[in-house]
Symmetry: C2
Subunit: 541 residues, 2 copies
């Protein structure tokens, strides 16, 4: 008989762009998601776990990142049933598209409005890169079936509570709120309404505004008008807008600066006319040069009040724009009444990016503390969550518009932030390791571990080859064990055990003098029946 | 321009064989898995979350259910990279195959032995049926890298603790233990060693033994010999074994009956020779007819002692069989020494099914309480977990044999058992609903919900259209709310709220007389500032 060729061994590798998560990483993420889930649940949101697999038809082409339409899904075709070709199935790429499908499918049994949260992996069939994976977690909360701005306000307040629940302190985050309708209103006033004819120009304008930080107002002005030559001499064609159009758009894009200047001017005016030098606005000059008493609001609300004033004037001619500004006012009033002041939730017209399918309020949670980037430079941590109102997703299925609003937390980014702040909440202590000196007394060692566990102490028996005792201690080290228990034949005969304090041992080995070494023995003997109590002492130090 | 045809609306449906899990189901499963994870963690096991997607090459063809080799996976091919065809990827079909891949890939960083647990969905591309889904949860714990039977004993004890932790009471479950080597030994003694030549006959034998319950010893005897004609007259060809071979196999298959008969006989002998009638064995007759003093063991261990005796004799001629029996003895000694007696962990040679890739001890956890089946008949609940030792999985990758042992809990079956026993541990109470009587005072209503939440009470504001108050109460009903809060203009002016006790209300509506109705008002007025305290009273009733 011919010898069969042996098949080559399979490679032990995750597919490209996928990864495994081990003990501490899993525990850390779980602790964070559990804390967030408790907040969501307290707000009346219900958990939903939809299937990971959807029909491609139901998923549709609603990838949130419209800048990369080629970003794909993992898809396959079912076997044919007789003549009928099999359905195409795919792994979900986010948690919002499945929510729309679930709500359309079960809307008769679900309460309206339907508040739900969902946490779980999603999959993207894109080119993997450093730190970019093809499977990652999302954590979403959405309210479906109400157009009330109270739902948007609730989402923002709940997000603030969730961030604090996981360990981000007040002052270390801010939730910025804008409204898609304001932006539409500004574009409308600038003569670029949302029609096919202006699609390209609107795109150029949004990209230009997005570059304000880098190019400054003059650079943006050039891009909106004739075009711009950069330092290298390369020429970028402009949007070719008129001077009046450009003024409207720049006045929107530079709103924060204009607002700050106006606040400074009004404070100076107050000091001049009222003679009080406390940085508060007491008098107020309107655009016609008339001077009024200012109503008594706290300085923390000045940016809000002047921003709204500025936006109201800017989009006065646009119905949708005015609607957007009034929605911002309503949202701000609700959050302020619930004591979520501008230290936590701020109106910020510069939130432009990633509006995607949003139709009303949009939110972005930013962490404001500094971290050190890869090059050693300090920078703000940045965005960890985003969301907003979207009214068209369910309509795809039912034909009826169903208003919805929600938020998605970037699980990996928030985890990274908690690590950067040393706030990760999981217990990563290893187990107490009961070493094995005498293979025949395994039952005794297991009984020790069992007793420790009954006292709530994580414990295990060493189950490798016990011959080399050094290997057992190396194992305990690898496990991050705080304590090792040792009982050889002599100790057994005397009814005692050796308790080895591995944390203290490591510390002494690093830093202690000879005297300290003698005073603080990292290993001691105790009666067998005192073992649990003595280990407990070490762990509660 | 020609009008574009509108695409038909997508169907809002999960793919066939998939389902969604809503609030209470998700919470219930999470509570159960959290309780199990706490036990596993306490035993020193580390969480592992491997990627849901594996290369088909790494997964291999190791589906545990060997009776259905066509059972498939969901697979797809990656895009080609230049000349190189793309890899085939697939969703994992269990948690064991990925563990083997993870261990092979990371063995240099992982401790040895490596104790890990994993919980998560797996996917099977099989024909969906009633109650059979193509995505379901598994919950596994395995120890990789030790051949010690102490690891198997630990798994069994940990499984017992896990079952009790989720609410299965002692006495309501039993963990049955057998050893694959014993079965191999019996087959060897019966002249059917594990070689290619005997493959078919061994299959017939295993299937015949498995039918003992239904066919009785004589039916199995016929199947092992000439063959068997059933009641309908159909003839099944037999294995054609000799009388001696058949005796060995039947003696194994009917071991529980033989053992019980022997126990009865020895008790009767004790009573005759020692004159004590307490159902205990005081004297002992061996196979040669000699009578000895029996050593003092509790009656609960008689089945164990006589089973081992029986098996030892049966496989005395087989090295592997004897090894298997001694492993059973070692495991039983370890569990007994740790006070996991035969009320929890029993040696049971009838555990034959589903041995699959197992190479040593095998375990099966069975729930012993009765439930009522679909036809209204009482039946034992049955198996909720299974596992055992397998030594070949990692070898596929590395060429080195790596011993491993583990257990897999059937998440859905265990959940069903907890529901049947009313032991499901999650809080499924709906939120307090703050109704909206005056749309302009939304901030007030949100402040009420916020105060309730700050006291740890789940609460939400009604965010649907508030016009029809009846709809608000229907909503509260659908949400399973215990309490509704009502504050109209009059109440607001007076500084009070109405508290509506929905649970008491429902009870009164069902059962109360008119007097009780008056005495126990399901709705009362209280001061606005007392609202939280009064709601708290209702909830802690």
């Amino acid at each position: 008989m011919a010898k069969e060729k042996k098949a080559p061994r399979p490679k032990a590798e995750t597919p490209k762009g996928f990864r495994d998560y081990f003990g501490p990483d899993v525990a850390e993420r779980k602790a964070m998601l559990d804390a967030i889930a408790r907040v969501y649940h307290l707000y009346g949101f219900e958990a939903l776990e939809s299937s990971a697999v959807e029909t491609v038809e139901a998923l549709g082409k609603f990838l949130p990142d419209v800048d990369r339409p080629n970003e794909g899904v993992f898809a396959w075709q079912e076997d044919a049933e007789g003549e009928k070709p099999g359905d195409w199935l795919a792994l979900r790429y986010d948690l919002t598209a499945p929510l729309a499908r679930v709500y359309a499918q079960h809307r008769n049994e679900l309460p309206t409005p339907y508040r739900r949260f969902a946490m779980g992996p999603v999959w993207r069939n894109e080119k993997p890169g450093p730190g970019r994976f093809r499977q990652f977690y999302q954590c979403d909360a959405d309210t479906v079936g109400t157009a009330s701005v109270a739902a948007d306000a609730e989402i923002c307040m709940m997000l603030a509570d969730a961030l604090e629940a996981v360990g981000i302190e007040r002052g270390d985050y801010v939730i910025r709120v804008n409204n898609r309708k304001v932006l539409n209103g500004v574009l409308e006033v600038a003569g670029l309404p949302d029609t096919e004819a202006h699609h390209a120009a609107r795109g150029i304008v949004l990209r230009a505004i997005d570059k304000l930080d880098r190019l400054g107002p003059e650079g943006v002005r050039a891009l909106l008008g004739e075009g711009r030559k950069d330092e290298s001499g390369d020429y970028t064609k402009g949007a070719g807008l008129s001077k009046a159009q450009i003024e409207v758009l720049l006045s929107f894009a530079t709103a924060p600066t204009l607002v700050q200047n106006e606040i400074t001017r009004q404070i100076a005016l107050s000091e001049k006319t009222r003679g009080v030098q406390d940085g508060r606005i007491r008098a107020f000059e309107n655009k016609q040069g008339e001077i009024f008493e200012a109503s008594e609001i706290g300085p923390e609300y000045y940016p809000y009040v002047f921003t709204i004033q500025h936006l109201r004037r800017l989009v006065a001619e646009s119905e949708v724009g005015t609607e957007g500004v009034e929605e911002l006012v309503a949202l701000a009033n609700l959050t302020r009444a619930n004591k979520y002041g501008p230290d936590r939730i701020v109106i910020d017209p510069s939130v432009v990016r990633g509006l995607g399918y949003y139709t009303g309020p949009v939110f972005e949670a930013e962490l404001t503390f500094e971290i050190t980037d890869e090059k050693g430079n300090p920078r703000q941590f940045g965005s960890v969550a985003g969301g907003g109102r979207y009214d068209d997703l369910v309509k795809r299925f039912t034909g009826q518009e169903v208003p919805a609003t929600g938020i998605s937390i970037g699980v990996d980014r928030l985890l990274a932030a908690l690590r950067a702040k040393g706030r990760s909440q999981s217990d990563t202590t290893g187990p107490v390791v009961v070493t094995v000196m005498d293979r025949d007394r395994m039952a005794d060692y297991q009984a020790m571990a069992s007793e420790l566990r009954q006292a709530g102490i994580r414990a295990e028996v060493y189950l490798g080859n016990p011959k080399n005792f050094g290997n057992q201690l190396k194992y305990a080290d690898k496990r991050g064990s705080p304590v090792a228990i040792i009982q050889g034949g002599d100790e057994h005969a005397k009814g005692v055990v050796q308790v080895k304090d591995l944390i203290l041992g490591a510390k002494i080995a690093e830093t202690a003098t000879h005297e300290e070494w003698k005073d603080q023995p990292a290993q001691f003997e105790c009666k067998r029946e005192d073992m649990v109590a003595r280990v407990h002492e070490i762990l509660s130090r």
